[in-house]
Amino acid sequence: MMEITLNHYLVLSTILFAIGLVGVMRRKNLLMLFFATEILLNSVNIAFAAISHFYGDLTGQMFAFFVIAIAASEVAVGLGLLIVWHKRHGNIDLDTMSTMRG
């Protein structure tokens, strides 16, 4: 069986990041968009953990913890905004948010 090396983790992380990016670009639903950004951050977490292990250094894991914490608070704020928007407009469609332009 093939050994799982750091590169595998990094590739996985990159793929997840790419998925997240595509999601960010494609999703018209605000909630789905938030999910996509979460994927972005978590892909980075995987990589951090792996690299941290690779170096035998805790910094990466610390970073990952902080990312998790920040992702959580981001979701809090994001959902708050989402709820207000939904209350006011009855939808969470991105295309409705374009009163300001030019």
Binding site: V67, I70, G78
Partner: protein, 502 residues
Amino acid sequence: MLEPINVSLESLNLMTLAPMLIPIIGALLIITIDIIKGGLHKTLYVGLSLLFLLMDFGALLDASGVFAQNGTVMGVFDVMMIDGLAILSQFIIVGASMLFIPLALTHKRFHEFSYPEFFALFLFMIAGFQFMVATDNLILVFVGLETSSLALYTLIAMHNRDKSFEAAVKYFTMGALAAGFYSFGAMIFYALTGSVEINQIASVLTANKFEDMGFVLVAVVFMLASFGFKLSLVPFHTWAPDVYEGASAAMAGFMSIVPKIAAFIVVMRLFEFLVNSGVVWLEIVIYAFVVVTMTAANIWALIQTDVKRMLAYSSVSHAGFVMAAVLIGTTQANSALFLYWALFTFTNLGSFSMLWISRQKHLPAYQSSDHSYDKFAGMIQTAPMAAVIMAVFMLSLAGIPPFALFWGKIYMISSAVNADYKVLALIMALNSAIAGYYYLKLIVYMFMREPIVGSNGHVYVANATLSLKTIIGFAAIGTIFALIAVNPLLEFITSFVHASGF
């Protein structure tokens, strides 16, 4: 088994945390007061915020004294780094905040200021920015960045208009993406060097002579994208006009100054060593960013019909202009950045405040937006004093001497000249000429058009109270008599920047 942690309090150097802790304590205090007794008047919170900011400023003065004596101070496991850049930028951050906070004391009632949370969040945000600039550690930068950003999204949304929510959502979403980019970029740096501290990253990279140039560049790209968003560099600027328009004018003015200076510091720390160690690619890319951001934003500002949106684009353009300092990377350029931004603070905050005091609750029929150009037609006849002050701000933004920004401009262009960026210097100069047009447009409206029938001067100062007027007067004096302040400011800044090794 892990070794027992044995750290002396001395070596922690907790004093380095003081400037950040003060606003945090203030925020907590405000929340506590609100919990104990709700419904208190906003003046209390304004007063408290101002007080804590003042204390913060005092702490900074103290820190600057220490720095002037001992040079850079590290603290808290060497995570905190109080060097000249940190101190100078914190001065700007805290100073601009002190100018901003009294703007809450408007004549008209606005939703957000009735919440004590507004002030608490504001102070948290300031602390976040302060962390961002006072560290070398990418983790702490990230934490500071997100703390401040999340608070800022909320503050924008608290303005409680449809446009504000739209702005907040846009800002937030793009901010989340930018956070993703940031962390990804940091991850690559970590992967390459095994460290998240910029100076260590630098030394490792220099030691191996940029072996993995491709990966370094990828990391740089993600960092660029992330800070490009924060600094509103084209094409990552798209949020800026919309968010400025959605936010209250005062908040927009604040946003054009404080978050950007914080981001600039990080960019300076992160990119300048790369540019200086001969990463030609980065030099070219930043060059392109500078030119495109300045020019494109100017061009878009030309066609705006709303003053606030115009000022938004103009802020983008100014950011591009200042970005040149990162490219040039000399001590003079870095000093120019601070000088420019300090002077910009007065001018830009002043001009946004002028919009703020003319904010109406309800739009009259002839006006297409809150601050459309038409609104200011013939202002010289109905509100001459306000018109003159506004004109001074506009002239300053356009770089007409002897007003504030002129000095920043010549010092910046001069630094380009001295570093042999001849073409860049010319582009910077000519962009000022393009910019002249849209600033002039407002002056034309104010001074040369007839007022719209039925409007009297009151509309321009409808929102004004003594404290707002004071702030504007302060900004105006700063703008007009900048000449006097330039020399001490320049000497102070240059010595600090030089001592920080930039």
